[in-house]
Structure formats: C-alpha cells, structure tokens
C-alpha cells in the first residue's frame, strides 16, 4: 500500500502522523525533502513534519535555487492534527483526509518520494 493510501486509511491522528513520518526515511535525492522536528507552540509540545520542495525563482537576470516550505503537518500533545499549506490551515483527521483526496498538489509531492 502506498503512502497516500496509508494516510487516507489511517484511523487516528497518531496513525496518520506515524505514516507521514515514514517519508523522512527516504534516502534518494529528490526535489522534495521531509523534515521532522519537535516544537513548542501555544498548545504545548508538538511534533512537526515539514515538506520542502526544490523550486527556481527568477530575480532579474538571476535564477535563484530555493527550498520552499510547502506543507507543515503538526501533531500536538493533545492529539490535534493540523495541516498548513498555501496559507490555509486544515484541522482534524477527517478534514485533512477529505482535503487530501481532492488536493492534487500534495499528491504530486508524495509521488516525488519513493515509498520508504
């Protein structure tokens, strides 16, 4: 079962995040990097998974190579799961799975990553 299927099939926030964290195990260099860290937020401690994508932006005559943060998943100590992307925040497992089903962007990101 692929990562996307596992995410859509997850029954709990913890299961969802654990599946997502498997992406950090990818070794082959791709245009996507996944970083896992612990953070302190207003709701206390949390695990945060950040997706970075390799992009190129033009600045005058220059083409700047950059790693752009495109997705941030956070699982805080109370078990709340959030997904931030493009300035929007989706809260809760059900909402996130619903959004994932119709969001082609995250699908594209996940396709970049080999299954761990």
């Amino acid at each position: 079962m692929g990562v996307m299927a596992q995410l859509l099939d997850a029954q709990t926030e913890t299961a969802f995040f654990a599946q997502l964290a498997r992406l950090t195990e990818q070794r082959a260099p791709t245009g996507v990097r996944v970083l896992l860290s612990s953070v302190m937020g207003k709701d206390g401690a949390a695990l945060q998974l950040t997706v970075l994508e390799a992009v190129q932006h033009s600045y005058g005559e220059c083409i700047r190579l950059e790693w752009e943060m495109t997705h941030v998943f956070t699982l805080n100590e109370t078990g709340t799961l959030t997904w931030q992307h493009k300035g929007e925040i989706v809260v809760g497992l059900g909402n996130i799975q619903r959004e994932l089903r119709c969001n082609r962007l995250i699908n594209r990101v996940l396709e970049h990553l080999p299954n761990p």
Binding site: P29, T30, G31, R33, A54, Q56, E61, C62, I63, R64, L65, E66, W67
Partner: protein, 315 residues
Amino acid sequence: MPITAADNQYFGVNAHLQSYYQAQGGWPSFHDSYIVHLQALLDTALRPFGYVVDNAASLQVREVAADSSERQYVEKTDVAIRDLHPTSDTPVIAPAERAGVLTLSIPEAVGLTETDLLRALAIREVNPDDKRPGRIVTWIEVLSPSNKPGGQNWREYSAKRLSLMQAGIVLVELDYLHKQAPVIAHLPRYGATSKEEQSDEQAQPYYIAVSDPRPSLYVGQTFVYRFGIDQPFPLVHLPLRNQQEYLVDFGVPYQQTFRVGIHAFLVDYETLPAEFHTYTSRDQARIRARMRTIADHQQELTDTPFPIDPRYLEG
C-alpha cells in the same frame, strides 16, 4: 573557573576559538570537519538541481607532452560543485582521452603536493545522461594560515586561485583568520601586528569572497562579504551555471562543526582570547562585552547566544 559551552556563544565566528587556532595551531582539525559539514549541506541542497558537491575532486590542466605520451595526476581538493546537467556551452572535456595531451592537476603543475594544501570543495555539474559528475562550476576554499599572505604556501595558493579563475571557475574563499592579511587585493588590512604594517580601524576580521570570472577574467567581479566580531555570517549568493545561484549561510556548518569533537572545549569565555592585542580596540570592546554577557548567563547557555547588554558596549 572556566566558562565553556557545547554551542558557539558568539553570533557568527567564535573569536576565542579562531584566536586559539591561530596562536596554538590545530586549525586543520576544524577546517576538515567544517569542509565535511559544508559538503553535506550543499550537496543536499543542490543535488536535485543537477549538481554534486565533491571534496576529493581532481582539477586538471592540459599540456601537450613533448613525447606525445599521456600522463595524468590527480589531486585531493577541498570542495567543488559539479553541474549534473551540463549544457552545450559548458561541455565536459576529457583531456586524458586525447593523444598527445598531458594532464596535470593544477597543484602539480605549480609544484604543490597533496600535503601542502588542505582540502577544498568543488561543485560539479552532473551529466543528465549517465548521472556522472561533470565539469566544475564553483570551487570553495576555506583558507588556512599557510595559504594566506605570509604563509608558506601563499605563492602556490595565489597561482592556484588564478588558475581556477582562468579556467572560468567561480572561486569562493572563506577567511576566518584575522591575523594575516586578506588574500583579496585592496581589502583593508585588519589589526596590524607590527609597526611596519598599516592597520585600518574600519577593516573587518572576517570575510567571504566570491570571484566570478565569467564571462572572462577581466570582466568578472569579486564580491566581498565582510563581517565582524559577534555578527552573524552573511547570506552569500553562490553563483552556479547559467545565471543560477543559491543563497548559502556558511554559519550553519560552522555551528555544526563547533559542536563536534574537541572544538568547544578549547574555548574558555572566562579568559580573553589568545593574542587579544591582534584585535582592533573596537573589536576588543565587543569581545569583552560578549564575555560579560556569557558570564551573566553562564548557568543557562543554550544553542542561541544571548543578546549583548548595550551597557557593556558603553565607555
């Protein structure tokens, strides 16, 4: 009672550590570790864009052998970045395959041996067809006392840097050694150590120089990022192929290097840096202010330096 910390307590270069290495020796230990961390940082960042970062590259020049026999010398270098997708204007040349061509590493050509130079980094293009490392695009040197003016290899290093630029390779030089004159001509001399030398009070102890010889050596430019005591590393525009560039914070691998091995243990923030007089009066005041701030917070030092209390910089 010494004050030590696992993490660097300066914003930027650690003046205590750099002074220690310049007074007592041992810089190669930090240099080599720094090169490895820098290589990891750049390789991870640039690989998806078609580059590979190499710290054991062979930089070669070609000469026609009088007897038409082929010879090749391979040299260990610091770090180079290779382009993974060579374009038509940057073809990969394989001189050793041509009859009557003698291939020499530049250090060999200028009479250097492997032990005379510390390693460097080469950023290379990667060939999209066979995924093999290709042409060197950018060359990164972390300067050591021996290859700065006054050092035993200065003449050879000077020839090497010129050879790199004549080959159209971008040269990046990181200089965290304040005692010796800079390798960049016309850069103000920092903290002269003898009466004969002229010091410039406005000079900075550290700099990162980016020399881009494209389209030609005479048209190309050198960009010098200068920074001082307790100032963060500047964000450096690293030129690559075809107008591409990448912004690099060379401070990230510096902090990583500081944390590993013995480096942090060589710093005692309770005592002045070795050869304190080699700093300008302005920077001596900054160092003292930093030390007082560290002493104030010695029970709570973390991976982020505490801001200096402005009162410590007065009078």
